[in-house]
């Protein structure tokens, strides 16, 4: 369970309309899917950054699994990122000179000491096939288009252990058909692992249905 109690990120404190979801008590329940829709500059990426422990500039309180994240030390954050949550950041954060497969496996290696299962190479290839990028697995990520890189970043997030998937505008460079394919795969694997999903986007996707939609 993740709870955000009256959390306001410092950078948007002044521009925030009082009715915004930020200024409420929000709960993210495990196994449920959440879509956050907001125009640019309303703090979507900031929320993902807060939940990943990348930034600490906010007021209010955030609890992850009943622990205030202010009390997290660096090792707690490492554990959370290795096996608690998988992220697809807006800037993807791939290593351009490693191949797509090396990128995926590096993330798996980092999490390999956790007790949760990690995807086999066969599973990864099958998923890549579903997303129509199996033939790109051996190419350095730097040589792929942004849309292809987005799908590799999604595969990387799915291949490592997680209880939460946090996706920051993950389909921004995908056509509706590929978006549909990727969402299906994400949903399927998250359901298998009984994981929750938080996904942000600028506009509502026609073909993505979540349990909860929050608009800012």
């Amino acid at each position: 369970m993740i709870t955000c109690s009256y959390v306001i990120p410092t950078p948007i404190q002044e521009i925030l309309p009082p009715e915004a979801i930020w200024n409420h008590d929000i709960q993210f329940v495990p196994g449920q899917t959440y879509q956050i829709i907001a125009p640019s500059g309303r703090g979507k990426s900031t929320l993902i950054g807060l939940l990943a422990g990348l930034r600490g500039d906010y007021s209010g309180q955030i609890h992850i699994n009943n622990r205030n994240i202010q009390q997290f030390n660096t090792q707690d954050w490492s554990n959370w990122r290795a096996s608690g949550a998988s992220f697809v950041f807006q800037d993807l954060r791939l290593f351009p000179n490693l191949t797509a497969l090396q990128n995926i496996q590096l993330a798996q290696n980092i999490a390999q000491n956790t007790e949760q299962p990690i995807a086999t190479i066969n599973a990864i290839e099958q998923w890549a096939d579903q997303l129509q990028i199996k033939h790109k697995l051996m190419q350095p990520c730097g040589e792929l288009s942004f849309g292809q890189q987005q799908r590799i970043a999604i595969l990387r997030a799915l291949a490592k252990p997680f209880q939460w998937l946090m996706l920051d505008e993950p389909f921004s460079h995908l056509d509706p058909q590929n978006t549909q394919l990727a969402w299906q795969l994400i949903l399927e694997i998250a359901q298998q692992r009984k994981a929750g999903i938080i996904i942000t986007s600028l506009n509502p996707y026609a073909n993505i249905l979540c349990d909860h939609t929050l608009s800012v």
Partner: protein, 414 residues
């Protein structure tokens, strides 16, 4: 965590030249320091060892001769109190008094057996000093008192100053067309000593050259022989006061001794005094080498640290991403530290090798110069090396740990 992708990720951005410069500098600095410390102890042991010739510096001291002496008004003898005072000086380990013959003496040499017709006869003077002050201790430099039934006196071994044979070989012999004589040959020469006044009481003894001394510039005979002959031949019943002393002094304290001698109006061989300055100079040189080593190490470690900081800064994207994927800053720090430990191990090994090679090289040279240096590496060298490596390691460890830890903290922009 497999390290191969980390290497490609984290070392890609940085040119290795700065790292190599740092490694080379650290190696050079460490080697300089280790060698300087080792040499310091090597030379110190040689310079202070009792049997090494220059372990103690031996100085022959006499009183300055003034016009008064020439007029027979002065006295150049050392009084007992003066000798005791010298003995009490902290940098003087022993004082010996020279005893000399108190009767006329002549030495003659018959060179007929060497195919030379003219031998030579010369007035000589003889001295003795306790054997601990001699720079050579030939086995045969002993004289046994004659027993009552002996008709001839036992052969007397003598030690000549090396300068004597040099004077003969390079000055006297060429001017007279005589052959030069080696030390070994002259030891076979049948010297005879005529002691005392032939008109009153005298004795004729055979003498044999037992060795050559660099330290004492007079003809030396065993002390028991000199006392015996003085007793037999001298008019003086009481033993004469010494006018020459020999001091064993600590080489590194020669300047202090010089001051004392000047104050008392004593004279000594200035050439030997230079050894003391040489000793001080050697320390200054070794100290400078060690200081240079420290500076080189400091620069090298700074370059090393700079390399690490730059490397971490340039790999910021990669490091942040690895942290975002769940790698802990401990793991990242460990990865860097393992690399540094390997590099430092390499540096230590090569420096140790350089130390051994240099030490062996200098050892061989010292052996050739008749010193007896110790071949092993001295413990303080190992302590100094270990301490330096640990300090360098800690400096680098702190640099890395702090920088990576900063990256792993949630940012709070103002």
């Amino acid at each position: 965590m497999k390290n191969a992708p980390l290497q490609t990720l984290l070392l890609r951005t940085q040119k290795p030249s700065q790292l190599f410069a740092g490694i080379f500098g650290a190696m050079l600095g460490l080697s300089l320091i280790l060698i300087a410390v080792q040499m310091y102890f090597n030379f110190n042991n040689i310079l202070n060892a009792p049997d090494q010739g220059i372990g103690s510096q031996y100085l022959v001291v006499n009183k300055e001769i003034s016009v008064l002496n020439s007029l027979n008004l002065g006295n150049s003898n050392f009084e007992t109190v003066e000798i005791q005072e010298l003995n009490k000086l902290p940098f003087v380990s022993a004082v010996g008094a020279f005893e000399s013959n108190q009767y006329p003496a002549k030495a003659s040499l018959n060179l007929a057996q060497f195919g030379v017709n003219n031998g030579f006869v010369t007035d000589i003077f003889m001295e003795s000093v306790e054997s601990q002050f001699l720079d050579l201790k030939p086995n045969q430099f002993q004289w046994t008192m004659p027993t009552s039934d002996q008709t001839t006196l036992p052969e007397v071994p003598i030690i000549l100053p090396t300068d004597f044979i040099n004077l003969y070989n390079f000055n006297y012999a060429p001017s007279r067309g005589l052959p030069q004589i080696s030390k070994d040959v002259i030891k076979l020469a049948p010297f005879q000593l005529l002691l005392g006044d032939p008109l009153k009481k005298s004795m004729l003894v055979n003498a044999r050259i037992a060795g050559f001394s660099n330290r004492i510039g007079s003809v030396l005979v065993p002390i028991n022989f000199l006392r015996y002959s003085n007793q037999q031949l001298s008019q003086n019943t009481s033993p004469a006061k010494p006018n020459k002393l020999i001091l064993a002094a600590q080489p590194n304290k020669l300047p202090e001794l010089q001051n004392y001698l000047d104050e008392m109006g004593y004279e000594t061989n200035q050439e030997l005094m230079r050894n003391g300055k040489f000793h001080t100079l050697l320390r200054v040189i070794l100290g400078s080498v060690a200081a240079l080593g420290l500076i080189v190490i400091f620069v090298a470690v700074s370059s090393f640290v700079l390399y690490l900081q730059l490397s971490i800064t340039q790999s910021k994207y990669e490091l942040e991403t690895l942290l975002r994927l769940g790698l802990s800053h401990h793991q990242l720090t460990r990865w860097y530290v393992q690399g540094i430990a390997l590099i430092l191990l390499g540096i230590s090994l090569i420096s140790t090798l350089l130390l051994y090679t240099t030490n062996n090289y200098i050892y061989k040279h010292l052996i050739r110069l008749d010193f007896q240096p110790e071949k092993h590496i001295h413990a303080p060298v190992i302590y100094a090396g270990t301490a330096l490596i640990i300090i360098v390691f800690l400096v680098q460890y702190r640099t890395i740990r702090n920088q990576i830890f900063q990256l792993s903290l949630p940012s709070k922009p103002k």
